[in-house]
Structures are given as structure tokens and as C-alpha cells.
Symmetry: D2
């Protein structure tokens, strides 16, 4: 495909990202209005850049005719939470929505990736209205704590900057950092629960 | 109702406005990508301010229990077009969408209001996902040309500034301006059609 | 230059546009808060697309080494007003600002272009902070009424769509439309003044 | 002061926040364009809510006549970084800017607050253009890592939710979490430096 084609191809994906961002940010607003606190801290989104798409197509041997079905993260939205348990509150709310259909869920929170990466991934089918009718798009929603986002952001930055090529012992240290990071997440949840207990006595 | 209540009451309306703006702006993007021109020039939106709502409730004797059904413009979105015929292109596209249901259409383009006001009004039922499930909201979409927007903006500003109280002869001049304004709209459409004809010869 | 270079070249221009939009929209906010009405209706901005820049360089024989000084509209901001007199209110406020320096003013409101185009153009020198220090950028601020914007938008769309090539008699009709359009602008100002007079009697 | 007055009082502060956000986000854009990585991950901003201002006035015995000079965080902007060393890169860039004047710096990164809170605080004097001339506003820029933001966000949420009243032992656990969190920040910097060393061998 030429760049011109890619631009057209990505229009519904950009639309899905824009709509999902507005919808998930709206969930935060509702929580803040109702209770002053929200399981959603902030929401970001992006369409996968063309060079990342083509690189992934080669790497995973995805044929052009299969992109729409096989690449689930062209439209990507990320939801950041304060506490680990908030992730599941958000996931539950996503399951109840009638404006998208969940296709797949992968719990990398409890079952982290070998690298140490943690997040909850949900692939949804989301309908966008195009000029020639409705089109269903796959989009990936990643739900994670601020702490998981800290680790994932830095791991991604290091991989990007050093092209994924760095010594095995440093990969191990990154993974150990991920374990400590998750312990911090759980400690914070614990502290919160203890405070709640101390209040209700 | 106290202000606190109003804030909660308006949450789904704000959500509907935010989503509709993103969706209608997406229609413009699609047109620009496909053909470099768009019947939609720009899109604005707003939730009706509380004081305007309460003022209208008194004026039209709308009971609090009937606001959701009887006040159709609490959520309002406005679509500005270049040419009069673009209005109907936009209206047709709105009719085809499956993410909202048209409840009512009022063609103030061909049948202007006594004041001289012109616009195409569509009331839609639009579903928003709230924490406790889906909620259907009424929203008003106004479609108008830049020229109709010029007249309506100034008429509204004069009414606002002078509290709707100004001499009958000035009302008449405003209305005559509206007629001239509409003639300009039609002349622009004519010029466009003539250019198109001259091109295809 | 290669596209890569253009992207870098345009960074300070995009920055200037973003800052000027926030600043001029802030002027509107101030007016609305203070008096409920504003001479500024809305503000838009854009960086000139690369193909338009290179096309203009060829047409006007601007050498690459002279772009920064000779092309004054790479960064462009547009301010839309309700009434013709509001244009001069905005221009006066721009003259008083200490965060930009006016380099040139061209009053195409009273002295329209041969095509019939009307707007007030101000070229400013605007400082942006780059990583390696301050950089002064030229930017063009166009101030016009909603009505002038109506005419200019359609004239631009016709020129774009038909590549600037359409019969002389249609150019004349466009120009006559511009005259009528300006008469409408003046009639609206007149009506406003008459209302004000009728109020203070 | 009545709410009306507060709204007017806060206009220049909101303007300062809006401008500073655009400016600091522009710094990120510059880094990304130049090198594909940025010491700035994201930027947020807010005007202090009126009830927080009045609560702080009472608590710190700030007289109304002294708010502008004595309350330095009415306009607040927050810059999130990936690595601890990025904080100082950002601080250096802020020091070089000519569009704001640094009034005070407080390094809570190396000298954390008793609670365990870490961030670099910079108070700047920032000029905004108001209708009646330039006005200098105090604004606080907080620079912190994603990790410091994780801890501060949760500590703030717990204080907010439980009104600052929770047992001393839980305060201690929060503080220990802060120490571990800072160790993670330093470990991530270490890993980065080791990778860089391994690359240049």
C-alpha cells in the first residue's frame, strides 16, 4: 500500500480511538461527580503508526488481506488506575457497556509477560459510522495502574532507544524491578484497606 | 433542584455533547480525506446553562418531572456548512447513522421562523453509557450554513445584550437582512453550480 | 529540503500557532466573563501545509534561505468577529500586547482585494522558546467578521475545487456577492447602533 | 468575596495555566521530533479550586489582600518525567526560558517532605496579557517522575478520601513505600546507564 492508502485505511481507526477516549474519560467524570474519587486516573489513546504496523506485519507474517482481523491493536486506548483493584472495576464496567463487544480478554496483571510487563488487555469490536455505513473495528483497551504504567513506559523507552538489544543481566534487573513495582502496588492497596478498616471501627 | 443536583443531572447531557462533537467532526475528517472538500465546515456543541434551562421551564411551564422528555435542546450540537445544499447532505448522513435515532425534524431552512431565523433542526435520541447502564438522551442537532450562522449569531447577541427589547422597525430590518442573507446563500450555490457546468463542458 | 527537514523547520511555527490560539481565545474568555459579550466570536489556527509553502516559493520566487523573512503566513491565526467595528477593537488590543511585535498591518477591510476579499491582516514577530534559546517567528493574524469569513471560505473552496480556473463572469458574480455581503455587515452594525440609541433615550 | 468575584479573580490564573501547558507540551514535541525520546512524558495543569483556596487561606492565615503574593500555587502545572535525571534536564530548560522568571526553587526530590513526598517545585512569575495591560502571576511548576507521581497521587487520594485522618502506623507504611518507590526510580536510572555503557563498548 502507498502512504495515501494507509491514511484512508486508518480513518475509522482514528475515529474509534477518538470516540473511545471521550467515552472512557466520561466514565472518570461520572465517578468524580458522584463520589469525588475515580478508579480511572487518566486515559490516553493512539493509532499505531504505519511503520509499526508494517514492521509487525513482517514479523508476524500477517498478510495485508488479514490486517483488520489479525492486528488487534491498530486502535489502542489506555486507562490508568490508582489501585490494582480499580483495574477490575474498570473491566467490569467495560463488560456492561452495550456500545462495544468484548472479543478477548488477557489478564497480564496476574499473569505477567516473561519481560515482567503487567496490564489487563481487552480487545473490543467497536462500531464506527462511516459515510457508506457502519464499520466494525477491532480496538485494544489496556487497563493498568500508574505503577504498571511507570514500568511499561520505561521498558518501552529503553527498548526503543537501544533497539531492543541489551544484555541479559539488564533484562533480569528490569524484571526484578517489575516484581518490586508490583509489590509496591499491592502494598498501596493494603494500606488503603487498612485505613478503611480503621475508619469503620 | 439545588446546583449540586443540576450538575449530576447534566452529566449524561455533557457526555452526549462530547460524543456527538467527536462523531460529527469525524464526518468532516472523512470527507476531507476522501475528496479534499467537506459539506461540514465546523462543529460546535454545548450543554444549555442551568439558568437558561430554569428560565425556559418557567416560560414554557415545563414541570421538573417532564424536563427529560419536553426539553429537547439541553444537549445541543451545531454543524456549519458552506452551501445550502450541504445541509441536506449532512441531514441524509444523519438519517443513515445507526448510533442515534431521529425523533423529529424541523426544516427552518425553507420555512424560516417569523424572526427570519434559518437552520435545519434534528432532535435525536442518543444512548450514553452510564455507570448504572445505558441512558437515552434527547439532543438537538442544528445544521446551518456559515451565512445562516452569521445572522443567527448576531440576532442572538442583540437579543442577549438588549434583553430582547428593541423597537419593531429594527426587528423588521433584522428580518430584511435575513432575506438578503439567504439570497447570498443561494447566489453562492448558483455560482458553484455554474462553475461546475462550465468545467464539464 | 526533505520531508524530515520540513517537519523540524515547522516545529517553532506550530508552537507559535498553538500559543497564539490559546492567547487569543483567552481574550474572548476575558470579555465573556466581564460583560457576557465578546468582539471575538472564535479563533482558528494552522501551519501552512508543506505543499502550499513550496508552491508559493516557486510562484513568488522565494529562495529557501529567505523563507523565514519573506513568507509571513507560515504560522496563521484567524480571529472571527460579529461586527465590523469589533475588528478594530481586536486590532487595538493586539497593538497593546507586549508579548508580540506588530511588523505590518494591511487593512483589507476598507481596501478589499481585487477579488472582493476582506479581512484585516497583521503580521507579528512572536518569540518562541526553543531548546537552544528564543527564536523569533513571523506569524499572520487575520481578523474578519463572520460574514467576511463566509465569503472567504466559499471563495477559497471554489478556487481549491476548481483549481482557480473558472470563467470571468463567475468571478464577477463572486465579487458582487462580496459587495452585498459587506453591505449586510454594515447593516448589522447599523441595526446594533440604532438599538443602542433607542435604549439610551 | 462572592463566587462572581472569584471567577474574575481566577481568569488570569486560568490563562497562565493554559499557556504554560501549551508551552511545556511544546518542549516535549521538540524533543520527540529531534531525538524520538523526551525527558517530558506528559504535562497536566489546573487552577486551584476556590474551596481549596479559601481553606488554605484560613489554615495559613493569609489575608485576602495578600493572596496574589502569598499563595504561589493557585496556578499549577505538573511535568512528568521518565527518569530522575530528566527532572534536572527540565529544570535547566525552565531556567533558560526568557518568558518566565523563576522566583523560588524547592528540591523535594533529594530532600523529600516528612510524608515521603518527592517532586521538584519551581515558582515562576509569568506575565499574562489582560485587557487592561500585562499582569504578572505566580505559578507553581512541579516536576516529578512517573514513580513520584504514582506515590503522590495515591497519597493525595487517601488523604482526600479519609480526610487526612488515618493511623500513625499507616502513615509510616506509606513513607516506607515512598522510600522503596524512590529506590525503584534510581534502579531504573541505573539500568539505563548500564545499557548505555554496554552499547558504547
Amino acid at each position: 500500500r502507498m502512504v495515501e492508502d494507509w491514511n484512508n485505511f486508518l480513518v475509522p481507526y482514528q475515529q474509534a480511538v477518538d470516540e473511545l477516549k471521550v467515552k472512557l474519560r466520561g466514565m472518570r467524570t461520572q465517578f468524580m461527580r458522584t463520589s469525588g474519587v475515580s478508579p480511572i486516573e487518566f486515559v490516553t489513546g493512539r493509532v499505531k503508526p504505519v511503520d509499526s504496523i508494517t514492521e509487525k506485519m513482517v514479523r508476524r507474517q500477517v498478510d495485508e488481506s488479514r490486517i483488520e482481523q489479525d492486528m488487534q491493536d491498530i486502535a489502542g486506548v489506555r486507562v490508568m488506575c490508582q489501585f490494582v483493584e480499580d483495574i477490575y472495576t474498570v473491566v467490569d464496567l467495560l463488560r456492561k457497556r452495550t456500545d462495544m463487544t468484548i472479543i478477548e480478554e488477557r489478564d497480564y496483571v496476574e499473569n505477567e509477560k516473561p519481560s515482567g510487563y503487567r496490564s489487563y488487555h481487552i480487545v473490543v469490536e467497536y462500531p464506527v459510522q462511516m459515510m457508506n455505513g457502519q464499520k466494525k473495528i477491532l480496538a485494544e483497551i489496556q487497563v493498568r495502574t500508574l505503577e504498571m504504567n511507570f514500568w511499561a513506559t520505561i521498558e518501552h523507552a529503553l527498548n526503543y532507544k537501544f533497539d531492543g538489544e541489551f544484555p541479559e543481566d539488564l533484562r533480569k534487573r528490569l524484571k526484578i524491578a517489575s516484581v518490586k513495582s508490583y509489590e509496591l502496588d499491592k502494598e498501596m492497596s493494603d494500606i488503603k484497606k487498612e485505613i478503611m478498616k480503621s475508619q469503620t471501627k
